[in-house]
């Protein structure tokens, strides 16, 4: 047979087949590195993103002039290790930033700025292309070192309660000066570069279902406010035409209509056994029967709830710069329903709600906001935690908190009446332990029965003023503290106020 030209035609076609095979590789490679590149780059399984993040020194979180979170250079494969000198005391505010276990708190809230990736730092990033990468930005918190330390020391030092919280606010600006939830946890191991160490630490903290150390009770949990809610009821009464001197019916018992075997009582037979009492005196001794009766007979649920809303109930107080509430998960304080299913007033429910029981629930943050609003002449400021965002060398400030009025909760006249009444509580009533020499301290105690068969919660919300100018407002909450809880809460509030006064050099 002829072999002329044999094999050449199929060889050429094999060349074409090879071209086709390589063509498929090219097309597919374009898909993987072009079309899908972004998905792969940002994939949760792509550890490069995190590694790159740890190549840059993350900015500090600062309280006063102290770093409560900072990054330290290591010899690990991840260059910088996040450390938390603030420890347990600041854990719920600062949060944590783990390698593989997510983040929380300010670490989560201001992640972009801390890592140097925020829009505000865009110009800096451009110049860094020539000068080398600089550390991320610093976050300066609004917290007062003195107030925070005192709150932590006092809460962990008291013996009545195993769990609790304290919040302090600057009434004029809304700056959060202290936010403590206890028990707390050490966020240090959470940031370990050893994923196992981090996961084990987090799992251990979260497995404590009884004390829930990771729960931020200051912002994210709600409890019946008890008698502290009488400040709202008082405000509603004042708005309803009453004055501090308006005489109300008192007594050891009040049986609301439509009930037979239920009645409102006072905490003791000595609270307000007399048949009548002024509004101011009722708040001073915390007379349940007079407030419950007044709410049912003169106020009605609508006016009470309206005043509650005016002070911030039924709305999440946004402490983050945007309204997303994604880092802290601040809880909404609620008053519940005071009507029956038929829409008509439910007198027993209203009577209980007026003294901060039944479905009324409040965060310690909300408690501090009520006291702050009273002290600030009825003007409620938006609470905030981040005071400033500054470059790593603190030379440029990218953001400074601008105090913002949330709402006018009540008229200045009503707020002045409330101030007088609350000052009377501390000077002559249930809140004596919060007194500070030379300062005008006002407040309201609260003892609330929780759902548990344990001791009642102890509350105190209060403020301190000098020369008619508010200085600081606080809320202290001692969960299941039992007898003496509200008095202890008042004492702790006083201590927090004192430390802040000392820090500010006002005394």
């Amino acid at each position: 047979m002829s072999t002329q030209g044999g094999f050449n035609a199929p060889l050429r076609r094999v060349g074409v087949v090879t071209l086709v095979l390589f063509g498929m590789l090219f097309v597919n490679l374009n898909y993987v590195q072009g079309v899908k590149a972004k998905d792969y780059r940002t994939s949760d399984y792509n550890a490069r993103v995190q590694t790159a993040e740890y190549d840059v020194e993350r900015g500090k979180i600062i309280v006063g002039d102290t770093a409560v979170a900072e990054s330290k250079e290591t010899t690990d494969s991840l260059k910088y290790l996040r450390t938390y000198p603030g420890g347990e005391m600041y854990a719920h505010v600062v949060g944590f930033r783990g390698v593989n276990i997510g983040s929380s708190g300010v670490e989560k809230l201001e992640d972009e700025y801390l890592s140097g990736n925020s829009d505000a730092q865009f110009a800096d990033r451009i110049s860094e292309m020539f000068t080398g990468q600089k550390p991320g930005g610093n976050v300066v918190l609004s917290l007062s070192k003195g107030a925070q330390e005192t709150a932590w020391k006092e809460l962990t030092g008291q013996k009545l309660s195993k769990t609790g919280a304290a919040v302090a606010i600057d009434p004029r600006t809304g700056a959060i000066l202290a936010a403590v939830s206890f028990p707390s946890y050490d966020p240090g191991p959470y940031a370990s570069h050893d994923t196992k160490v981090a996961v084990d630490a987090k799992t251990k903290v979260e497995s404590d279902k009884e004390l829930k150390p990771s729960l931020n009770r200051a912002f994210s949990d709600r409890f019946p406010p008890g008698s502290t809610f009488k400040v709202i009821t008082s405000a509603a009464a004042l708005a309803n035409g009453a004055t501090p001197e308006t005489v109300m019916q008192a007594g050891n018992n009040y049986q609301p209509p439509q009930t037979s075997n239920f009645s409102i009582k006072n905490s003791s037979q000595n609270t307000c056994p007399e048949p009548s009492i002024t509004l101011k005196q009722a708040l001073t001794v915390s007379c349940n029967t007079s407030f419950a009766r007044y709410a049912v007979e003169s106020l009605g649920p609508d006016k009470l709830k309206e005043m509650g809303r005016n002070f911030g109930f039924e709305e999440i107080p946004h402490i983050e710069r945007d309204d997303k509430n994604f880092a802290f998960g601040v809880a909404k304080s609620e008053m519940g329903t005071m009507s029956g299913p038929d829409g008509k007033v439910d007198p027993p429910a209203l009577a209980q709600s007026a003294i901060g029981q039944r479905e009324v629930k409040m965060t310690p943050l909300q408690g501090a906001m009520i006291a702050a609003t009273v002290a600030n002449n009825g003007s409620q400021m938006r609470p905030y935690l981040v005071q400033e965002l500054k470059t790593y060398d603190l030379t440029t400030t990218h953001f400074t908190a601008q105090p913002k009025e949330l709402r006018r909760s009540c008229t200045p006249a009503i707020s002045r009446d409330l101030q007088d009444m609350m000052v009377n509580v501390v000077e002559n009533g249930t809140g004596k332990k919060a007194r500070i020499n030379g300062f005008k301290v006002g407040g309201k105690t609260g003892t609330a029965d929780g759902a548990e068969e344990e001791g009642a919660h102890g509350w105190f919300i209060g403020f301190v003023m000098k020369d008619d100018k508010p200085i600081i407002a606080t809320a202290v909450f001692l969960q299941n503290a039992g007898k003496g809880g509200s008095g202890e809460a008042a004492r702790i509030s006083g201590e927090i106020m004192k430390s802040y006064i000392a820090e500010k050099g006002l005394s």
């Binding site: 030209g5 044999g6 590149a37």
Partner: protein
């Protein structure tokens, strides 16, 4: 000789183009030097005084290879050696870059003093020396590629044995360390391992080429037409069926689709080249796909020896179903490639430590992270160039054995690149093939360099004016001969 005299004066026919090869090699060395400097600048943050040592060593090696070709195969293709040198050199330098990545920050000071012969990169450099020495020896020994056909049966038998040894060895001696479910492609003795399949590939092809040259009439003559395609008679299908069964056995016992696809593809394509019957391609593709589907469904229902293939296919269909378990390798490969994107992170700026087996199967993904789509495209183009130059050699050579061997060799090389790169980029299921000239490992490097030097030997014969018919055609001018050379008619050897 008259031919030589005339060529010496006219300048084209005896232009051996060795100087072109040398110039291309120099260009390649400049590229590699630039890459080595870029890696050091990124990883050590300074270019050390020793950054050129590995590249220079490679340069000396390739220059020696060039000299060997200049003297032993002066008319050989001038592009093959520089193209392969580029890939080989890039492999060595990238493996050194991987070494740097595994020196932890604590030992970062060591990077600058890291010996050029240490680590994966140093070992690969050493293997390059050994591989080139072997390949040059082959060039010395095999003065005429046709002489290989004398040992066709011996080589064929040896090839089959080499393929089967790992398959029959206990898994602990045949699998890569720590991969109890991986392909059985190795013979491991202590800390050393060789991949006999790389050598078997060449030996089997010698046999295929020889066998098919003898049998081509039978395989191409008698046929029935169906749908416009000539199909062979049933009884002539025997050898093909045999190889198909063998390749399926490889799939099952070697546990490797890639290897199976390689051998089967190599055989089918050589049959096709020998017979010019497209039906063989269709039959082959059909048989292979059918076999793969069968193995997939048997793996899903029966499991046992088919389970491995089933798992691999499942990973391929959805790598993110188990991203940190079964799908880990492919997922990390894709993430690495995606991270690289169009332009790559830059030499030395990627994170090859995140890509498992980045020195072996997934080296293409590791490189892709740093040099991006454009860089990988360039590398694929160089591979394509090697394959097409190989096929051109097959076109140029005149004897049937040489044509079949060169054609089969070139296609197999291309197929291997397709199988591994396709696997790494999730075009096909990922299998344990080496990336030719690039993956860490001596067997693969040695076998592939031998393959290239055999191609050089054949291309020398194809372009050698002494053995062309050019001297018998005195009227041929300086303008037309290249086409003549490349389409040289086939001389049958019996």
């Amino acid at each position: 000789m008259t031919g030589q005299l005339r060529a010496a004066t006219s300048g084209f026919q005896l232009a051996t183009r060795r100087n072109v090869e040398l110039a291309l090699l120099l260009f390649v060395m400049v590229l590699l030097l630039g890459y080595a400097a870029a890696v050091e600048a990124a990883v050590i943050e300074e270019i050390t005084g020793d950054f050129w040592v590995q590249t220079a060593t490679l340069g000396v090696l390739f220059f020696a290879a060039h000299l060997a070709v200049r003297f032993l195969a002066p008319n050989a293709d001038p592009v093959l050696l520089p193209a392969v040198a580029f890939i080989n050199g890039l492999g060595v330098l990238f493996l050194r870059r991987v070494d740097y990545a595994y020196l932890t920050k604590a030992k970062v000071a060591l990077r600058a003093d890291f010996s050029p012969w240490a680590g994966l990169g140093g070992k690969q450099l050493l293997w390059t020396v050994i591989a080139l020495v072997f390949a040059i020896v082959i060039l010395v020994v095999v003065r005429d590629h046709k002489s290989m056909s004398k040992y066709a049966y011996t080589l064929g038998l040896l090839g089959i044995i080499l393929v089967l040894i790992p398959a029959l060895l206990p898994a602990s001696l045949a699998q890569r360390e720590g991969q109890s479910n991986g392909a059985k492609l190795w013979i491991r003795v202590g800390s050393y391992s060789i991949q006999p399949g790389e050598f078997a590939k060449i030996m089997l092809l010698v046999f295929f080429a020889y066998y098919l040259v003898k049998k081509r009439e039978v395989l191409s003559l008698a046929s029935r037409r169906f749908l416009g395609i000539d199909f062979p008679r049933g009884r002539d299908l025997g050898p093909v069926i045999t190889v198909w069964v063998l390749s399926l056995m490889i799939l099952v016992f070697v546990k490797d689709l890639g290897t199976s696809l390689m051998y089967f593809g190599m055989f089918v394509v050589t049959v096709y080249i020998a017979t010019e019957r497209a039906s063989w391609l269709i039959i082959g593709l059909g048989l292979f796909l059918g076999g793969a589907f069968l193995a997939y469904f048997l793996g899903a229902s029966v499991g046992g020896p088919f389970a491995n293939f089933y798992t691999r296919a499942e990973i391929w269909l959805d790598p993110f179903a188990d991203p940190s378990g079964d799908g880990y390798q492919l997922v990390q490969s894709l993430l690495g490639l995606g991270q690289g994107g169009l332009f790559g992170e830059g030499p030395g700026n990627g994170s090859p430590r995140f890509i498992p087996e980045v020195q072996n199967d997934l080296i293409f993904a590791g490189l892709g992270e740093e040099i991006g789509l454009f860089g990988l495209t360039a590398i694929l183009m160089v591979y394509l160039l090697i394959v097409e130059r190989g096929l051109r050699t097959a076109l140029g050579v005149r004897d049937a054995f040489g044509k079949l061997f060169a054609g089969g060799m070139s296609f197999t090389l291309g197929l291997q690149v397709f199988v591994i790169v396709g696997g790494v980029t999730r075009l096909i299921p990922l299998t344990g093939q080496t990336t030719p000239f690039m993956s860490a490992g001596g067997s693969s490097l040695m076998a592939n360099w031998i393959l290239i030097f055999l191609l050089l030997r054949i291309s020398d014969a194809a372009r050698n004016p002494a053995s062309t018919s050019a001297s018998a055609r005195p009227g041929v001018g300086r303008r037309n001969p290249p086409e003549q050379l490349h389409d040289a008619p086939t001389e049958m050897i019996r």
